[in-house]
Symmetry: C2
Subunit: 133 residues, 2 copies
């Protein structure tokens, strides 16, 4: 067999790092299939799951897709801004945001495990483009 080590994980991570936009599992599958026709969805989802656990990628819940994490390790909440025009995602790690969320959780006694913070709209580049056109 061809599978050595964590080949798929590495391939997936590499792809996501090079993509300017979030990719769905099936986007990734289609890409990697050109090298390995046998690839099937479960393999992709496993790799995505492992990478997510390691904090190397983030899932963009609102679009069922994934992006590479562009920071190193971060415990603070990641804020993803998704441009509905160009499809780009900007990641931002914001301490004051984490703080607000921590406070809110504390007040209600909620034990946080995972946070999803996504903002949809138009990025500054695309706003400029709109104005100019």
């Amino acid at each position: 067999m061809r599978g050595q080590g964590k080949q798929t994980q590495q391939d997936v991570l590499e792809l996501l790092k090079q993509s300017p936009k979030p990719m769905t599992a099936y986007d990734i599958l289609a890409e990697l299939k050109t090298d390995n026709a046998k690839l099937a969805p479960p393999t992709i989802y496993r790799a995505l799951s492992a990478l997510t656990d390691q904090g190397l990628i983030h899932r963009v819940e609102g679009v069922n897709a994934f992006v590479a994490c562009c920071h190193g390790d971060h415990d603070a909440a990641a804020l993803l801004s998704i441009c509905e025009d160009c499809g780009g995602v900007e990641e931002r790690v914001d301490d004051s945001l984490s703080k607000v969320l921590r406070t809110a959780a504390k007040q209600t006694g909620f034990k946080t495990k995972r946070q999803v913070i996504e903002i949809y709209g138009v990025c500054s580049d695309c706003v400029s483009a709109e104005v100019t056109s």
Copy 2:
């Protein structure tokens, strides 16, 4: 020009209001099919979309499901806390959160249209239950 039967919308909203947990489109479909065997997914999705536009329900992106909005109109960001134990969702409208997000957007020149803020973990009730058991 108003005044037409939005029966499905009302049925869907009613269901969601009575549900202690978020419901998926197909959960809703299954329920409403007991009264109307002809119901099909598009009708449900249209009703959900209309209700979302009106701000009467929220979509929980992380679980592909929907909950009734338990506040009246609110412009401020809604923070949804989803308990992975009991499945319950608590909605909270938090001004300081909105402020942080507004600030972040301003700094990057991002034009916000929609915000998704979801926290996954264990609610206070379930935390207590865990300790007791």
